[in-house]
Symmetry: C2
Subunit: 214 residues, 2 copies
């Protein structure tokens, strides 16, 4: 089973590596990081670089494809090679997935028209631009397309997907293997649960960032 | 604030990248992956390679140091350069942390003598070899030493640490930024919660692996 995770500059590390950690443990899984060129792609904060295992051209027909999010999505929504790879790979994939703002890239490639989809909580409105219906759920299955909410939701998405691919027992064994029994030290993981001042802080930062890029 | 995450061959990706995603968002944080040599280190399953930003020699005095786990720990518990780096860096660190079986490496370096510590649930007994008292908690603070349970516990550890370093509001903002509001699709994240057959499956695999390496 060929699993491809797309990389690009300024991706968010956990968007890609959460699903990697789960999906790479599936029996017969062969996970490859793919990118427009060979070499290393760097995260949003720059200090983590992951090496690509194949170019888009070299892995055009994965069984499972996943697009992470991150600030680089600003450019990736109009990146022609990534869009072409997504459209090509989606024609033959068994599962097409995104984490966080990766769903905006799927949307820009025309995959989410008329579908319910999720993304990072600060970017839900942006999904509507691509004809999708934004929803607050953490993981949304629409046929073979699976979208996950922000960053850490990729772990939940990948475990749910592992269950669909290999059955519940295999998915549970993976969950136990990565000891995924979360105990967040604060109740601040969603805009509904976090203190209002914290929510406002992040909204304000998102507005500044939007204004900065004009 | 200099944050160093140690890399070695056959590390487990999420052990390192979960904490990276959280700690790199701390104000003033400069996260560097460090290793015995320059270049790329590969995970246990081999398909993910992370590039080192500095050698051990080049970053001997981080404020925060973190050692991930993974199958490579089998060799790392007796790796001289890693041990020397840990011992040197721990003398001046503000926080010394491990995720998963990374705690065995801290133990082998003599840091856990007489302390309570945690690790991957299948490896708790191994901690006692190094004079530590194994405990089931997900994250354990003992003075400036912080140990986390298996793989995904690194996210909880890093958020707790972020709270100690920068205060609760900053940690909550990071948690909301990575939308860490986990919804595991199965109740299988600990040996207490998972179906007994799944627990036995993983115990059996661990025994085979132990026998295979003699």
């Amino acid at each position: 089973m060929k699993i491809a995770i797309a990389l690009f500059d300024r991706f968010t590390a956990l968007d890609a590596v959460g699903p990697y950690e789960v999906l790479s443990r599936l029996p017969g899984a062969e996970v490859t990081f793919v990118g427009e060129r060979e070499g290393v792609f760097r995260t949003d904060v720059g200090s983590l670089g992951i090496e690509v295992g194949a170019t888009f051209a070299a892995l055009a027909d994965p069984d499972v494809m996943l697009v992470p999010g991150g600030p680089g999505v600003d450019e990736m929504v109009s990146n022609v090679p990534l869009r072409a790879w997504i459209q090509r790979a989606h024609r033959t994939s068994t599962w097409t997935a995104s984490v966080c703002t990766g769903s905006l890239v799927l949307g820009a490639a025309g995959l989410l028209e008329g579908l319910r989809a999720t993304t990072h909580w600060l970017q839900r409105e942006a999904l509507a631009r691509y004809g999708a219906t934004p929803s607050k759920e953490r993981v949304i299955f629409e046929g073979k397309i699976v979208t996950g909410a922000g960053v850490s939701a990729g772990i939940d998405l990948a475990l749910a997907l592992a269950g669909r691919i290999a059955g519940e027992t295999v998915a549970q064994a993976i969950q136990l293997g990565i000891e995924y029994d979360p105990e967040p030290p604060f109740a601040a993981g969603s805009a509904e649960k976090a203190p209002p001042a914290v929510v406002e802080l992040l909204r304000e930062r998102a507005r500044s960032r939007f204004q900065a890029r004009g």
